[in-house]
Amino acid sequence: MLRATALPPVTAPSHDELLADARRGSETAFAALVREHQAMVFGLAYHFLHSHAHAEELAQDVFLALHQNLARVESARHLVFWLRRVTSNRCIDSIRSAQRRRELPIDDAHEPSAAANFPDPMLGDLLRNLVAELAPDARIVVTLRFQEDLDMSEIAAITEMPVNTVKSHLRRSMDALRRKLQDKGHTYES
């Protein structure tokens, strides 16, 4: 009788190995990197832009830029930082150029969203709508803080803002969100 332990365990390549393979030109490795990080990049873009179509386009642009700049990415850890920074910058640029053209992102808040995982789907949509109303700098700070669970110094490094500015954006945004939620009948602890 053959024992299952006779075969060595199949180990997935580490993130650094994937990056090294992608840098050597492996399309399979690059596609694996895309799958690994697509939820982070698309999520940041979606929560910032509040539009599936705009987020898809922006996320594709970010990965295209990654492919063209793979030589500059030093490690898997640097890759995550690079993706967060480029996505954040492009989100802010996208909103500012849309505002200059007087085009606002298509609000597809009525599309089925992350509601399935949220105990109160209406409240989830309400929070995402309120975050989408914040000013671009404050919005990216809030999105990085709560999607990626980053601390102030990490957000400051990604957004190239002083730490005190990040703290200020976060404090004011939380106050504004609490105030708007209270206006709508929700009460939150400070």
């Binding site: 895309v34 409240l123 995402r128 999607q147």
Partner: protein
Amino acid sequence: MNLERQLRRALERKDPAAGFDNRVMSRVATAAGAQPVTRARRNSVVFLPGAASLILAFGAAYYVQQQRSADVASAHTEQAAHDVVLALQIASEKIAAAQAKVEEITRYEPAKNN
């Protein structure tokens, strides 16, 4: 209720529509194929018309120069021929005048043999 916890739930990571990796790889392939062509095209768009214009300009300048040289040479030849004809005319007139003088002298000179 805790707002921070609710925000973490509302803003959790989100996957794009299925096939996102394929769509990215398709764009990567398109960009990789287009990039060298684009560079070559950009070079040709920028440099070739410039080079062609320069060659045409130099060619035209050379042609005009050659034409002018030919015209000048032709004018010089014509002038030289004209000068030769004039010189011959003058010489001919002088010879004719000298001959007439000689004939006149000869006519009034008594014959030495008589």
